[in-house]
């Protein structure tokens, strides 16, 4: 089924090549809008933009090593109801996976959506990216890939891709309709483009691209990257577990938390309109605080911090795609992504579930089988 084609790259400018590709997509009347990261005029910061005019794609840079937020939430907003036209969204693998989770939770639909995904070699934290950008200017994206594809992501000293990215073993946008491949390709000449669904195929067919073979070295490159990341992941898990394996240590780990709930706002799969922790349920009576304080002589204020994080683990760990936006959003630099990734790994393994992998897999807590988990029943 898969149509594989090439996008030619001129002057090493992969960003321009990609831009051209999406302009041509938007030119076909089939797609009415594109959601794509662009450098905004102010500060040049990268932000997702919704573009209907092909002319307005000039600063689009979907390959930039940064995603200021997980765009799955935006896609969810765009697709909750029919909008009467196809839109194409350019997403990172973790954004696609997060969106899949949201679809399962009825927070979006695939009907009018075409997903284009790019091989992900990681992203910098927002603030790091700004520094990186400042240093390398227009060539930033190009420079990043020239190094990253050779295994080097700490290009500027002290600026490396986030731990979440370093430990992400899902760099390939498997759930995309159209895959834009960098791994294994000679990006100075061309990028690989591949349709992974009939929808994607239809788009590519219309563009009359020259068909090509999948680069022979791609498979190897992919598996090398995955194995590198996997071993980093295991390291991180070990370290995180070491740092949190008692309640005291967890307390310590989370000690900087001010209950700002930014992490949950940034989390793409925390889909509640309003978190239970900001509802009346946790709007305790004043006397209650005194009562709690009396019990132990003191309590930390604001209260319910660990309770909040543990609850969030119970609620979303099965859906966590490991995008790392929680860490990105934390004002006090709590390494939340590592913690949540570790828990998610544990729970998803337990339910033999991979968040965002397939729309056919029901969220673990929405289904049950009559003859499962019998080992956890009973007190022997």
């Amino acid at each position: 089924m898969a149509i594989t084609a090439k996008i030619n790259v001129k002057d090493n400018d992969i960003s321009a090549a990609i831009r051209e590709f999406f302009i041509s997509v938007l030119d076909t009347e089939d797609v009415s809008a594109i959601l794509i990261p662009q450098h905004l005029p102010m500060k040049k910061m990268l932000m997702p933009t919704l573009v209907t005019d092909p002319q307005k794609l000039e600063t689009a840079d979907p390959l930039a090593p940064c995603f200021p937020m997980n765009a799955a939430r935006l896609v969810s907003r765009l697709t909750r109801k029919p909008i009467g036209g196809k839109i194409l969204v350019v997403l990172r693998p973790c954004e696609i996976r997060a969106f899949y989770e949201l679809v399962k939770l009825n927070q979006g639909t695939m009907d009018e959506l075409i997903i284009a995904g790019v091989d992900c070699l990681g992203a910098y934290k927002n603030s790091d990216y700004l520094r990186f950008l400042k240093q390398h200017g227009d060539k930033a994206t190009e420079i990043f890939y020239q190094n990253a594809l050779n295994g080097k992501t700490e290009i500027t000293e002290g600026i490396d891709i986030s731990p979440a990215c370093k430990s992400c073993e899902n760099p390939i946008p498997e759930g995309a309709d159209i895959l834009i491949g960098l791994l294994g390709a000679d990006i100075s000449n061309h990028l690989m483009i591949q349709a992974q669904s009939p929808k994607g195929e239809a788009v590519l067919k219309r563009l009359n691209l020259s068909e090509a073979e999948e680069p022979s070295s791609r498979k190897e490159a992919v598996s090398a990257l995955i194995s590198k990341r996997s071993s980093y992941r295991d390291e991180i898990f070990l370290k995180t577990h070491e740092a949190t394996d008692t309640l005291d240590k967890l307390n310590n780990y989370l000690a900087n938390c001010v209950n700002c709930y930014n992490c949950r706002v940034a989390c793409p799969v925390c889909y509640c309109k309003e978190c239970v922790f900001v509802t009346d349920v946790f709007n305790h009576e004043p006397y209650q605080y005194i009562k709690w304080a009396k019990r132990k002589g003191m309590i930390k204020m604001p209260a319910d911090t660990v309770f909040y994080h543990l609850t969030r683990m119970a609620h979303i760990s099965a859906a966590c795609v490991g995008c790392g936006q929680c860490s990105n959003a934390c004002p006090n630099d709590i390494p939340l992504a590592e913690l949540f990734r570790m828990v998610a790994w544990q729970t998803q393994k337990a339910f033999d579930y991979t968040a965002g992998k397939s729309l056919d897999e029901k969220p673990p807590l929405s289904v049950f089988r009559e003859d499962e988990f019998q080992e956890i029943v009973g007190i022997k």
Binding site: N106, C272, K273, E274, C275, T279, H315, I316, S366
Partner: protein, 1126 residues
């Protein structure tokens, strides 16, 4: 109370409870009586039921208006606003006519006041008497004061008057003074002992005295008469041979003085004849000397019991339902080749149920009672007391095969498969929905061995206590096998209540079971008196429940005119949103709670509770459970006017019903009262904690409004066969409009081609009687050649679109739907069907016989093959009717032409229940039955007009070849329930396309969606009369809704905070009752309060509490947890 609006249900077993609930739910008042001191009947002894292998009985409780009834385990007890339960009560007589019965009841006096008894059980510890415990089938002992069923409330304790020695220990120790056995009671029973021998007199005196009676002596007839003249006696025991006036003369003289005086003759063996003569002239009984003390006590007690049972009570009711249940065969009675009662490890199935029950003698451990040894191997022997002509049991008990499989499966489950299990059977009768697969699984999945053999005897094995079984396998080989335990699958027998039925003029069949009407198995020959459950014999739970509903339906029809459309006024308390005002009342339980003795402790606790602004008053009071305590609580409430009341006392179940009474008394909704158990707490901290948790629970308990939904009091019945017509008629007869939709041209369904039932009742007559009633009924609108296009809505409010050939598309509004679309004979694909005109199905044979295109006189040999395409995948179910049909046809052909050779090739003959007699009859008439195995099916060879059937005869071990003039195939039944129909109504069908009931035992005619019911063949394969029963049951279920003009939800119901809701719809998926849906216009998740049962599944899948349960909100729960650790 309107006597016409009342019904009486006699027997509070599962069928009685069901019938009572059905009537109560349709607004009738019900008097539910039972002669035992508890409800639940035999099921109170059975913890596990097929097919879930657990219980689930509670699913029978009302789902609409559920706050009217108890909402806890049905084994614990039952209350319903419309049901009055009288226990230890028997019927003496039933006079009058339908709509107007006058019933005399006799109630045993209660020595334990159920209002006062708090079930503390201290009395048990002081009782000196040990008696064998009937609850455990005699496998353990209990005291004379005891809990008849360990988990039941109310009226927990009762005294076995026969065993009780009146020592008074319990009375003295009872903390609530609930026991008043009044030792004087027996003293008032005066016995005169007349004998010329001093030694006899004094020994008798001693016995009677110990038993607590007042006994006096007379040494001659003359002296006795003098005493009798002085004061009345309740009993006289007299010797026969006495000098002077002999016993017989004394009897005559005494009887002329006191005609009612019971006299028991005492006689030596030689003068038994005289004693018998004496009985003819009025003696009650005789006793043979030398006396057996037990026998004397027993006889005297029987007289005493009558004396004691003076509390006759008259009740006026409109209809009576007898649900007397069933009894079991006692293997001791027979030849007893299995040495039951002699070999300790041979037990009956009922006893075995107690062995693996948590409340049984071994506390559920699978060990032998005789020596405590863990069981390694159990053998079940089927047909003990069933299918045995020698003991007048030419019937199949219908339930034993399934309960034995169930027992074996539970044993396997409990032992992790380590216990070896084997079932010895003749035919494995899996004649119900899903039974066959259950059996197959038992074999393939659980590793239970099925051995087609009859064990002829059991002998003790060399190893102590083990048992050796001898049997011959099918090939004739003899086997010997050892087991640790043998369970006899004892058959059913008429219960003792059958005699009662007979005494009120209800006919019994030749085996002593109640005889019911041909096509309405809940009707009897006495109008207005109906039969429910297994009382009419040989029914499993599911059929019993169906029958009970059918009986309730017929009773309701009898009494309906007086009560129909009566609207119950519900007082909706206004929604209060003000700060909580809680009253805390802590019971000090007669100062017995040592923790609360110190005034200091109490004061401190009160102080602490009162410091909470939500608590307006906290007080210690005594014995809230007593009348006095209740009064003082009411006073407290009157004084402080709280909005919520917290009672800290003992076992909260005691307060189940009382809480409601109390609530009415003090005018506070039961939901706003809470009882916490502090009786078993070990320190004051714990009491503080428990009360604190109660306060938190109440603090956030809003005064919850009840939601109501209007009802369109109209029904839709789909399918115009006998089931559909019965259901439609039943509902219309209750005064509600019915639309009856039939796809075909004519009403009648399968009755259009059926001749007669196996019993010989004409189907034609049934059709001719039913059809005009339906067609002429002013409230029934018949739509023939019409199909259902779509149906939307919820219980009480459906809109269905139907399409008719003639009138086009039409929309009907209705409150309930009954699916009675029936079933048809499957089309065989095997045995050469279609290749020869001499190969026909059962239906074709029936038609040929009906229109006389087949002349039995011209037939030489007929072969019938059973289970054609049935009982194997993909149609792995028994169609239930084919075996009886083959028997019917075989008997008919033999009757027409005795020279026909008839061969029936079968797998297991499913002649369940009374159909077994026809099986015997067919065998006797010379029909030859040959068993075949599905792995080795008969072969059919066709050449020209000749049909030859080749089969293995397993006994002889050879192939036989039969040249058949006619081959009849029993193809079984397939349902007419199409996917489009189930889709239209939003109900599901099972694996085989039959209607998927909400619960096969407890809600057999309901769908998971309230308001939609099914009956007849669409439900499951069944006979015509069984179909009628389901139709009546479904109609009754429908009437629960139709008789109300609005449905009320329960208080504990799911709600949605729409502002928090992200519309993820996980709650909709999680709801097991389909009570939630998206309102597409409002874009909101809506809860159907009538469907919602308040289980909370929706609330737990909702991460931010947008979905919540009224009465169990997250905030409330977190506060309660918080309070638990303060």
């Amino acid at each position: 109370m309107d006597k016409n609006g009342r019904a009486m249900v006699v027997g509070a077993g599962i069928a009685g409870i069901r019938a009572a609930l059905e009537l109560a739910e349709t607004g009738h008042k019900v008097l539910l009586i039972d002669k035992s001191p508890h409800i639940g009947g035999i099921l109170s002894q059975l913890d596990y039921q097929f097919p879930s292998d657990h219980c689930g009985m509670c699913r029978m409780l009302p789902m609409i208006d559920r706050d009217d009834s108890s909402q806890y385990c049905l084994r614990k007890g039952l209350f319903h606003e419309n049901i009055e339960i009288l226990l230890s009560t028997e019927i003496i007589s039933i006079d009058g006519e339908p709509g107007n019965f006058s019933i005399t009841l006799r109630r045993k006096s209660d020595w334990v006041d159920s209002q006062r008894c708090i079930g503390c059980g201290i009395c048990v510890s002081v009782c000196p008497v040990d008696v064998s415990d009937e609850f455990n089938e005699g496998l353990s002992y209990r005291k004379a004061i005891y809990l008849p069923v360990p988990h039941a409330v109310p009226s927990p304790y009762t005294i076995d008057a026969k065993a009780c020695t009146r020592c008074g220990a319990c009375e003295a120790i009872c903390p609530t003074h609930a026991i008043s056995m009044s030792s004087q009671e027996r003293k008032q029973f005066r016995i005169l002992v007349v004998d010329d021998e001093m030694i006899v007199r004094s020994s008798l005196m001693e016995i009677l005295d110990t038993e607590g009676y007042s006994a006096e002596m007379a040494e001659s007839g003359q002296k006795a008469l003098e005493k009798l003249a002085q004061q009345p006696y309740q009993l006289m025991l007299t010797d026969i041979k006495m000098p002077g006036m002999d016993g017989v003369e004394l009897l005559q003289k005494a009887k002329s003085l006191y005609p009612d005086l019971p006299v028991v003759m005492m006689t030596a063996y030689a003068t038994v004849e005289t004693a018998v003569e004496a009985m003819k002239i009025g003696a009650l009984e005789y006793l043979i000397k030398p006396f057996d003390t037990e026998a004397i006590i027993d006889k005297v007690f029987k007289v005493y019991e009558k004396f004691e049972l003076v509390h006759a009570r008259k009740e006026e009711v409109g209809a009576v339902i007898l649900t007397g249940g069933t009894a079991f065969f006692d293997p001791k009675q027979d030849k007893n080749t299995y040495y039951y009662g002699l070999l300790p490890n041979v037990m009956t199935s009922l006893e075995f149920e107690r062995i693996f029950s948590g409340t049984g003698p071994t506390q559920g451990n699978l060990v032998r009672l005789s020596d405590g040894k863990p069981i390694r191997k159990i053998a079940w022997l089927q047909c003990v007391g069933s299918r045995d002509i020698q003991i007048n049991a030419d019937f199949c008990s219908s339930v034993c095969c399934m309960f034995s499989i169930k027992e074996a499966r539970i044993v396997k489950e409990k032992s992790n498969g380590s216990i070896e299990t084997v079932l010895f059977y003749m035919d494995m009768r899996t004649d119900g929905k899903s039974f066959q697969r259950y059996r197959d699984q038992a074999e393939s999945l659980h590793g239970i061995r099925f051995e087609r053999a009859k064990v002829h005897s059991i002998a003790p094995d060399a190893d102590a206590g083990d048992l050796m079984l001898r049997y011959t396998d099918i090939s004739g080989k003899l086997h010997e096998e050892t087991a640790d335990m043998v369970v006899l699958a004892v058959g059913q027998r008429p219960s003792s209540a059958a005699k009662l039925a007979e005494s009120v003029g209800i006919g019994l069949n030749s085996w002593g079971f109640v005889q019911t009407s041909p096509f309405s198995p809940s009707k009897t020959n006495r109008p207005g008196i109906f039969i429910g459950g297994s009382f009419s014999g040989l029914k499993d739970i599911s059929e019993s429940v169906i029958q009970a509903s059918a009986a309730a339906f017929n009773a309701s029809k009898t009494i309906q005119r007086a009560t129909c459309n009566v609207q119950r006024a519900k007082t909706d308390a206004p929604l209060l949103q003000k700060p909580p005002r809680i009253l805390v009342a802590v019971c000090v339980c007669g100062n017995k709670n040592p923790l609360l003795r110190g005034a200091g402790v109490c004061q401190e606790l009160v102080k602490e509770w009162m410091s909470d602004p939500a608590v307006i008053v906290a007080e210690f009071t005594d014995q809230i459970c007593s009348e006095q305590g209740e009064k003082s609580l009411a006073e407290l409430v009157g004084k402080h006017k709280p909005d919520q009341v917290l009672i800290a006392a003992c076992l909260p179940y005691v307060y189940g019903k009382r809480r409601r009474e109390l609530s009415q008394r003090i005018g506070i909704d039961p939901l706003l009262t809470e009882v916490v158990d502090i009786s078993s707490l070990s320190d004051s901290e714990m009491i503080r904690c428990a009360v604190g948790m109660g306060i938190e629970k109440l603090r956030r308990m809003e005064d919850l409004p009840i939601e109501t939904l209007p009802v369109k009091q109209k029904a839709l019945v789909v399918g115009g066969g006998i089931a559909g017509m019965t259901a439609a008629l039943g509902i219309a007869d209750h005064g509600f409009e019915v639309d009856l939709v039939e796809q075909g041209e004519k009403l009648g369904g399968n009755l259009l081609w059926l001749n007669s039932s196996i019993e010989g009742y004409s189907m034609q007559t049934l059709l001719e009687e039913t059809l005009p009633k339906v067609e002429k009924h002013p409230l029934i609108h018949v739509h023939t050649q019409t199909r259902v296009v779509s149906s939307y809505g919820q219980a009480g409010d459906f809109i269905t679109t139907i399409e008719s050939k003639e009138t086009g598309v039409q929309t009907i509004g209705h409150g309930v739907s009954i699916l009675a679309v029936g079933g048809t004979e499957a089309i065989p694909t095997a045995y050469g069907y279609g290749k020869s005109s001499n190969i026909v199905t059962q239906k074709e044979l029936e038609e040929k016989l009906r229109n006389k295109t087949l002349d039995p006189l011209k037939l030489g040999t007929v072969v019938m093959i059973q289970c054609v395409g049935s009982r194997e995948e993909p149609r792995n179910y028994c169609s239930r009717v084919c075996c009886p049909t083959s028997l019917k046809h075989a008997l008919y052909l033999k009757e027409q032409n005795p020279d026909i050779d008839i061969y029936v090739l079968y797998r297991d003959m499913m002649s369940c229940g009374f159909a077994e007699a026809y099986y015997t009859q067919a065998r006797k008439s010379g029909v030859i039955f040959i068993q075949y195995d599905p792995s080795n099916k008969p072969e059919v060879k066709i050449s020209g007009n000749e049909v030859r059937v080749i089969a293995d005869e397993p006994i002889i071990g050879k192939k036989i070849e039969i040249a058949a003039d006619l081959l009849v195939l029993a193809a079984g039944i397939v349902p007419n329930l199409s996917n489009s129909l189930t889709h239209a109504f939003g109900v599901s069908s099972d694996q085989d396309g039959f209607f998927q009931e909400a619960d096969s035992k407890w809600r057999p005619t309901d769908s998971m969606t309230e308001g939609i019911f099914a009956c007849g063949l669409a439900h499951s394969p069944r006979s015509v009369s069984e179909s009628v029963a389901t139709a009546e049951a479904a109609a009754q279920r429908a009437l629960r809704i139709l008789t109300k003009n609005q449905l009320s939800a329960g208080r504990v119901t799911a709600k949605v905070h729409h502002s928090l809701c992200s519309l993820c719809e996980r709650c909709i998926e999680a709801c097991p009752y389909e009570a939630r849906m998206i309102d597409p216009e409002e874009e909101k998740v809506m809860v159907n309060p009538a469907r919602c049962q308040g289980c909370g599944s929706c609330a737990t899948v909702c991460p931010n509490g947008a979905s919540y349960i009224q009465g169990f909100s997250r905030q409330q729960m977190l506060a309660v947890i918080d309070a638990a650790f303060i």
